[in-house]
Symmetry: C2
Subunit: 247 residues, 2 copies
């Protein structure tokens, strides 16, 4: 049985990887990935065959990696964050389905919802939804519906891909939808370049978030009705019934 | 400034921890945690002062840990999975708010949604919600509403705390709610004892899930309308528009 690994490497810093991810990469002959992430890890694993491509080359890169694995080489496809959350793991399973002797193993990693949350404080202390605003492969109506229903459910909402050059207005539109169900004072936050050079974060209200421009390297958090700011950190309590002092 | 760390240690195996979590624990004088998780890490960090308590002792344990940190000892509170997702991080911020000279740092970890997903395949490839069925601190009506709206939004739903001795019927009730919006054939999965001895997993339909008993050590995944089973793995594709071959 040949094996290919989909490996989540976390937000970028080497120390945010799991021990398992490090060990799998160490043992691989071939490592495939988006150029930015390969650059982050290449120095730690110099003697590997690398398959590198740009952002649009995902499918091709996965096919090349699968072919390497099928040829008997121990192969990993690296993904930023987790390997499964909007990651390559599922794509590799779909593309690799035709090879009976290929096994796909997933090595989980710290996705931006978790690494970004740790920067802000503890925004994900209660039920939450993770929603991407990218409409490259998802109809915008579907995204809108999810934002609306997640806001109506008073879930904390973590937003991936909040913006890009072509989609400058998307976060503003998303905020308008959420503002129908969430108060304008809802505690929100965002983190840019999580765990990388130039990391920036801010805690602000939903109304302020609506009027803020963020880029594609940003992860956004919109609190639930109980989220609050404590000493500069965003905190969502774990419950509704038991209340703790938080003067 | 005194510092206390909330550290997510992942699902249990040492190798599922991040390098950062390992390093922070190595440097701490005091480590506090629920007895089961402390037992998992104690052998790697033998020369520490441990504050251990049972499942109900969370608030007391955090207060003790905060007092240690305020006294100048480098202190960590360990949580299974991530430190923030239904974890101790927010509680420590609430309880620690009164100490001006105390800084709370969060070290993210691989929460059960991610580690469980990796066992099943790639169920979280698109937008998802994480919902706990525990009504200890959350009114059941709120949980029901979230399940309903997340199902209506066709999000993948990851369920924490699906059952316990006192709440044997909760998962069945949750499935009934989701079945109003999701097909009975929706691909679902569950993982028990993720990353620990006795790990078990199964992929099944939503209808079958409804008639399955799981325990409190289980994490449940309910797919979206596109989730499928590929060679024994649960996969949610990353998009709706672009379709790949998956024969």
């Amino acid at each position: 049985m040949n094996r290919i690994y989909a490996v989540g490497i976390g937000p970028g810093e080497y120390e945010k990887m799991t021990v398992e991810a490090m060990e799998v990469l160490k043992e691989c002959d071939v490592i495939a990935g988006y150029s930015v992430y390969v650059d982050l890890i290449k120095k730690y694993y110099p003697n590997k065959e690398y398959i590198v491509s740009g952002m649009r080359g995902e499918e091709e890169r996965c096919i090349k990696a699968i072919e390497k694995a099928v040829s008997g080489l121990k192969t990993a496809v690296v993904c930023s964050g987790d390997a499964g959350v909007y990651g390559m793991a599922g794509l590799i399973m779909e593309l690799g389905a035709k090879y009976k002797e290929l096994e796909v193993r997933v090595v989980a990693g710290v996705t931006a919802a978790l690494s970004g949350a740790a920067v802000l404080g503890a925004p994900l202390g209660h039920d939450f939804a993770v929603i991407s605003l990218s409409d490259l492969m998802t109809p915008w109506e579907k995204i809108e519906k999810r934002l609306k229903l997640a806001a109506e459910a008073d879930m904390v909402i973590c937003i991936y891909n909040p913006s890009s050059r072509k989609r400058a207005e998307y976060l503003k539109n998303a905020c308008d939808i959420m503002l129908k169900y969430k108060s304008r004072d809802t505690v929100c936050g965002f983190v840019r370049n999580i765990g990388r050079e130039g990391q920036e974060s801010e805690i602000l209200s939903l109304e302020e978030l609506k009027n803020t421009n963020v880029d594609m390297f940003t992860t956004v958090f919109v609190g639930n009705e109980q989220s609050m700011k404590i000493k500069g950190q965003m905190v969502t309590p774990r419950g509704y019934i038991e209340k703790y002092h938080s003067n």
